[in-house]
Structure formats: structure tokens, C-alpha cells
């Protein structure tokens, strides 16, 4: 499958936009105006963008605590996200969710859980709802290698395989759960790669190559829409920053010497820029213009967020129940 140059440029723009938002958060985080524990997805942009590029607007995603990229890639509203980071009334969750609980129902983003693995059965249930309502929508679930430790993944996949649900399980293997390396927690590769393909289509892709992620996601989406059942896509990637908060955590010493530098050579965003330049799909001037446009959009979003009101005490009790 080949991707048109225009599409590849658009994927790049989306990845760059996610990257620049993370960097903007990092640059302002020390000001302590964003009073919410941010989990940055720098280094993992290709997973969110590659998967969501295979989805329609009315398809569902289920996100997690490291979800800024998923939200933007699915088409979530940027100013509402930034306002949520500032816990404003104009935030997507009106200041109740913070960084870990983003939502934009207009684009099929029905929320994100910060309980590791918590979104996996919910996204499976969304797939069940699509099936039972006779819709050709699919549900894509993003979760990390930490969530792949949880038994709920087995339980959910078992049901999805049993009922051939239109669900795409996207394992973002970023190598670490907080400071614990995946090798200390898993006995080897995921057992789900060993399932017969007619029960579960599994793929292991370079999660830092958006073309590879997209290709795998498109196969999974086609299978799901055809009623042929779930897929499991493991995207090998790398968490370039610490578990939570801003900046590098290399000083903590839990990562092997040179590991970060090694993955920097495989950066999904700069790597794609180089490929686009080499192929002649973009030139340096176009790249700079794209970056400038994103910077201005981010400026506007941050201005909007900071100018927005904070929820007052009188709003505390609202929305416990849906009225």
C-alpha cells in the first residue's frame, strides 16, 4: 500500500502538532499554572496519528492517561484540551478531568481512564454497542505495555474474539511502566501474537514509523468493518520523557546508558520530516511555514485557556449524575 504524498504530509503535520503541544506544555509546566499531572507522549506521536488516520470521525477511541496525542489525532478540539490542562470551565471536561481525562464526543472520543488497563473493557463494550446497533463503526483502544500486564486485557480480548467484535487493540509498547522496564514484567513477547489469525489478527510494527502503523491499522479496520473480528497491533515505540511531568528523567538512572540517544535516532517526527524532504514532498520553507502555523494555533489555544474562567465552588456538585 502506498500513501499519497499529500496524505503523508498531513500525517506529519498532525504528528508535529502533537509534538509541539507537548513541548509547549513542557516549557510552561514549571510556572505551575497547569495544576494537573501531565503524561507526555513525546516519541509516541506516530502511534496515535497512524491509528486514527485509519478511522472515521464516527469511529470510537478509548484513550488513557497518556492521551494528548490520541485526542488530537482523533480530531479533538485543541483549545478545549489546553483549557482542561488549566482546569478551566471551558475545558473539555470543565475542569473535572485534567490532563488524564479528556473527552470529545463529537469525534468519537468518549473519555480516557487513568486506571491502567481500565479503558480496555470500555472500548470493547463500545465495539459491542456498534455490533448490536448494526453500525459499521469500529472501536480502537490505546493502552501501554503496563496495561498489557493486566488480566483485564485477556478477559476483554477473549470476549472480542468470541463475539468477533469490531475492536482494534493498540498496544503502545513504550518500554516502561513508570520506571519498570517491560522485560522485568513480561516473560517475553505478548502471548496474543500467538493466537490463530482468524481469531485475532495480530501485528507487531515499528510504532515510530507512521506509515507502518497506518498500514496495520487499515488492515485491522477493514477486518473489523467486515465483521471478521478484532485485531491486536503492538507498536514498538519509546517514551522519551519521564512517566509524568515535564522534562527528561535520564538522571534517575533507570534507563541503560545511551538508550535515549539511540531512540532519538529513530524519532518519529524528525524521521518523517527527513523522509518527506528526501522524497521532495516538502521543502524546508514549507516545513517552517507548517511549524509557524502550529505555533500560532497553540498561542491562540493557550491564550484562550488562560483567559477562561475557573469553575467556581457552586459548580462542584454538578454532573455527578446525568440528568
Amino acid at each position: 500500500m502506498s500513501i499519497s504524498s499529500a496524505r503523508l504530509v498531513d500525517l506529519y503535520r498532525q504528528m508535529l502538532r502533537i509534538r509541539r503541544l507537548q513541548e509547549r506544555i513542557e516549557s510552561e509546566y514549571h510556572l505551575d499554572e497547569m495544576k494537573t499531572p501531565v503524561h507526555l507522549c513525546i516519541g509516541q506521536e506516530a502511534v496515535a496519528v497512524g491509528v486514527c488516520a485509519a478511522l472515521r470521525s464516527d469511529d470510537y477511541i478509548m484513550s488513557n492517561h497518556r492521551g494528548h496525542g490520541h485526542y488530537l489525532a482523533k480530531g479533538g478540539d485543541l483549545p478545549s484540551l489546553v483549557a482542561e490542562l488549566f482546569c478551566r470551565s471551558t475545558g473539555c471536561s470543565q475542569g473535572r478531568g485534567g490532563s488524564m481525562h479528556l473527552v470529545d464526543t463529537r469525534v468519537g472520543h468518549l473519555g480516557s481512564s487513568s486506571i491502567v488497563g481500565g479503558g480496555i473493557p470500555l472500548g470493547t463494550g463500545l465495539g459491542l454497542a456498534c455490533r448490536m446497533q448494526g453500525l459499521d463503526r469500529v472501536s480502537a483502544i490505546f493502552f501501554g505495555d503496563g496495561a498489557a500486564d493486566e488480566g483485564v486485557l485477556y478477559e476483554s480480548l477473549n470476549l472480542a474474539m468470541l463475539k468477533k467484535l469490531p475492536v482494534i487493540y493498540v498496544l503502545e509498547n513504550n518500554q516502561y511502566s513508570v520506571c519498570s522496564p517491560v522485560g522485568a514484567r513480561h516473560s517475553g513477547g505478548s502471548v496474543f501474537h500467538g493466537v490463530e489469525p482468524d481469531r485475532l489478527l495480530s501485528a507487531k510494527v515499528d510504532g515510530n514509523q507512521v506509515e507502518e502503523v497506518l498500514a496495520a491499522a487499515e488492515r485491522a479496520v477493514a477486518r473489523a468493518r467486515a465483521g471478521e473480528g478484532p485485531s491486536f497491533i503492538e507498536c514498538l515505540t519509546y517514551r522519551m520523557r519521564g512517566h509524568a511531568g515535564a522534562g527528561s528523567d535520564a538522571h534517575l538512572g533507570y534507563r541503560p546508558e545511551g538508550e535515549i540517544a539511540c531512540w532519538e535516532q529513530r524519532d518519529p517526527v524528525t524521521g518523517l520530516a527527513e523522509r518527506l524532504l528526501t522524497a521532495g514532498h516538502l521543502d524546508h520553507a514549507a516545513l517552517a511555514a507548517m511549524d509557524q502555523a502550529i505555533a500560532e494555533e497553540l498561542d491562540q489555544a493557550f491564550i484562550f485557556a488562560k483567559a477562561s474562567p475557573l469553575p467556581g465552588a457552586e459548580e462542584l456538585g454538578l454532573h455527578l449524575f446525568s440528568e
Binding site: 473539555c92 478531568g97 468518549l110 480496555i120 470500555l122 470493547t124 459491542l128 454497542a129 478477559e155 476483554s156
Partner: protein, 347 residues
């Protein structure tokens, strides 16, 4: 000893409740069955899932053969995976359906806690009402036949603690049907905790589809000397106790809250204004539970109404023993309520 021998099949006490004057006499399971059947017929978004809902036992008869009428797509057995399946049900609810997820026993809900408490109950609040979760979970407290410590737990106190979760505990066939239909129509997660002993009772149930509003308790018997709040099957025990007390010249008022969250506080407080005395009877442990919360309600909002300390009749703070002699010592009933009231009223 099989369930059928533990408690004879009996008619519910005649509460003289306005809504129960009409209808046929149905057993408790048939009332639930009729609610499900009607909800499945009236609303294509409704579906029923759970371990064994389509088996010959059919959840004590509550779900029996519903899959034959409404199809296996809408009434289906599940893997034994309470954690994920609770999340699957919640996710399906977010996606526009109205799942009713049956559990044989509340004991198994411990496995569902993460999805129920961390997710379903919080989703509306966390996302400022952007996504609703019209989910019904149903479980039935076991008792007798040596059910023992892991098949008889009355866990309403744990779930009562959780904001964002509505909690319903019927005691009559009329309410079992009406509250289930109300729960299915509700846009928020509702946990219905039934009691196995209620399933031995028959009551008057109208054939039509109707709802009993959540948050509205029922006056089962009017009285002037003491208010007895009976939760779930203890509402029946409280009524039986009140009948016995009447023979001793004590007029007890019996209240059945029917739903615990929301709790009909007005009903309890207005009764206290009349009687000045409160006994709370719950089928669960005493410490930190439903009886404690209702006692706290009296202390916080009704202290000047009280003529005597609040008393509670609950199970001891112990796991349930299997052996029948120990079981007999474990469970309180009408006799303990009578003794407690008499002690309370002793001059």
C-alpha cells in the same frame, strides 16, 4: 438443605400499599422476569447479559427463556470475567445501549469494583456530563444451605459509599418489577441488590409496564411508638416484628427505603417526628454500613426528634459460617427486632 426448604413459599405480608391492590399474585422471580421481558420488548436498546442468564435455572427464574423470545444477541451468557464484562457493559452503555448485567451473587462484584467504581460511577462527573452510562447491575444476596462466607455477603454498605452509583434494594414483587424498570430507564449506573429470601415470596403485581421511582421509600405499616427501617428482606422481618409487637400493645411504624441512594430521608425523618424512636434493621454487617448511615441521618437531622438512642439490628461483623447451627446464630430476624424494640421501650 435446598432453598425451597429454607423458607416456605409464602405470600408477602398484606401491606395495604395503594399500588399493590391491583394485579395478579406473582412470585418474586416472575415479577423480575416480567420487567425484563417488557423492557426488552419496549426498548431495542435494552439487553441482558450475565453468567447463566440463558441456562435452565435462569437466575432463579428471573431470566429464564428470555433468550428464546428476544434472541441470543440480546440475552446472552458471558465468560466468567466480571472485571472486563462490567467494563464491557459500561462501554456498551456509553455507546448508546442499556445493558442489564446479572450476577448470581454480590460476592462476585468485588471483581467488578474497578470498572463499576473507578469507571462507570465516575464517567459522568469526570467528563462533566458529556457521556452517560445507563447501566444496570443486578446481584442477589445468598443465604442458607451452607452458602458460607463467599456466597452470602450483603455488600450494600460498600456500594452505598460510592458517589455516582444509585443503589436499589427491593423487598416486594411489586417493587422488584417497578424498580427494575425504573433502573433500566435511568441514565446513570444503578446497582440492584436482591435477596434470595425475597424469592420465596409472592406479591400482587400489575401486568402493565410501570416504574417505581428511585429515591422514594414506602410506608409498610403505620405506628406511633417506634420507627423500624428495614432494608431489603429485613423490611419483611420488620413487618412481622411489628405485627407481633402490636399484640404486646406496641405500635411500630415500618419503613422500606427501597432505594438507598438516593435515600428517602424525608420519609424517615417525618416518621421519627411521629415516633421519636428508631430501629434500623439491615441484612448486612453493622460497622460502617447502611444502618450506620441511617443512624447518622437521625443524629444529624433528627436529634431533637429522638426520645431514645438509635438501635440497630444487623449481622455480626463476621464472615458467614456454613453450618446451620452457626448460621442460625448469625442471622437476625423478626425475633431480634421485637427484642430490640421491647428493650428500647422498656420504661
Amino acid at each position: 438443605m435446598p432453598w425451597t426448604k429454607i423458607k416456605a413459599e409464602v405470600n408477602e405480608p398484606d401491606y395495604g400499599h395503594a399500588g399493590e391492590g391491583e394485579g395478579r399474585r406473582l412470585d418474586y422471580a416472575a415479577a423480575i422476569h416480567e420487567a425484563l421481558d417488557q423492557a426488552l420488548s419496549l426498548d431495542p436498546r435494552v439487553f441482558v447479559m450475565g453468567q447463566g442468564v440463558d441456562d435452565p435455572a435462569g437466575m432463579f427464574g428471573s431470566t429464564r427463556d428470555l433468550h428464546l423470545k428476544h434472541g441470543r444477541e440480546r440475552v446472552f451468557d458471558t465468560p466468567l470475567a466480571e472485571t472486563a464484562l462490567t467494563g464491557v457493559a459500561a462501554g456498551a452503555a456509553m455507546g448508546g445501549l442499556r445493558p442489564v448485567y446479572f450476577h448470581n451473587r454480590p460476592d462476585f462484584l468485588f471483581l467488578a469494583m474497578d470498572q463499576l467504581v473507578n469507571h462507570a460511577a465516575k464517567w459522568s462527573y469526570m467528563f462533566a456530563g458529556a457521556v452517560k452510562v445507563p447501566l444496570v447491575l443486578w446481584a442477589c444476596i445468598g443465604r442458607g444451605w451452607g452458602s458460607a462466607a463467599q456466597h452470602s455477603q450483603a455488600l450494600q454498605g460498600l456500594f452505598f459509599h460510592v458517589p455516582g452509583l444509585k443503589l436499589v434494594m427491593p423487598s416486594t414483587a411489586f417493587d422488584a418489577k417497578g424498580l427494575l424498570m425504573a433502573a433500566i430507564a435511568e441514565d446513570n449506573p444503578v446497582l440492584i441488590i436482591e435477596h434470595r429470601m425475597n424469592f420465596r415470596q409472592k406479591g400482587l403485581v400489575p401486568e402493565r409496564a410501570y416504574t417505581v421511582p428511585l429515591g422514594k421509600g414506602a410506608l409498610r405499616r403505620a405506628g406511633t411508638d417506634v420507627t423500624i427501617v428495614g432494608v431489603s428482606q429485613m423490611a419483611t422481618e420488620a413487618y412481622l416484628a411489628a405485627e407481633e409487637l402490636a399484640g404486646l400493645g406496641i405500635q411500630a411504624e415500618v419503613l422500606d427505603p427501597r432505594s438507598l441512594r438516593p435515600l428517602d430521608e424525608d420519609l424517615i425523618l417525618s416518621s421519627l417526628a411521629k415516633t421519636g424512636r428508631l430501629v434500623v434493621a439491615d441484612s448486612a454487617w453493622k460497622t460502617g454500613g447502611v444502618s450506620a448511615e441511617i443512624a447518622a441521618l437521625a443524629a444529624e437531622k433528627g436529634l431533637d426528634l429522638l426520645k431514645a438512642p438509635v438501635r440497630r439490628v444487623c449481622c455480626p461483623d463476621l464472615p458467614t459460617p456454613a453450618g446451620y447451627t452457626l448460621e442460625q446464630a448469625y442471622y437476625p430476624g423478626a425475633a431480634q427486632i421485637v427484642a430490640t424494640v421491647r428493650e428500647l421501650l422498656r420504661p
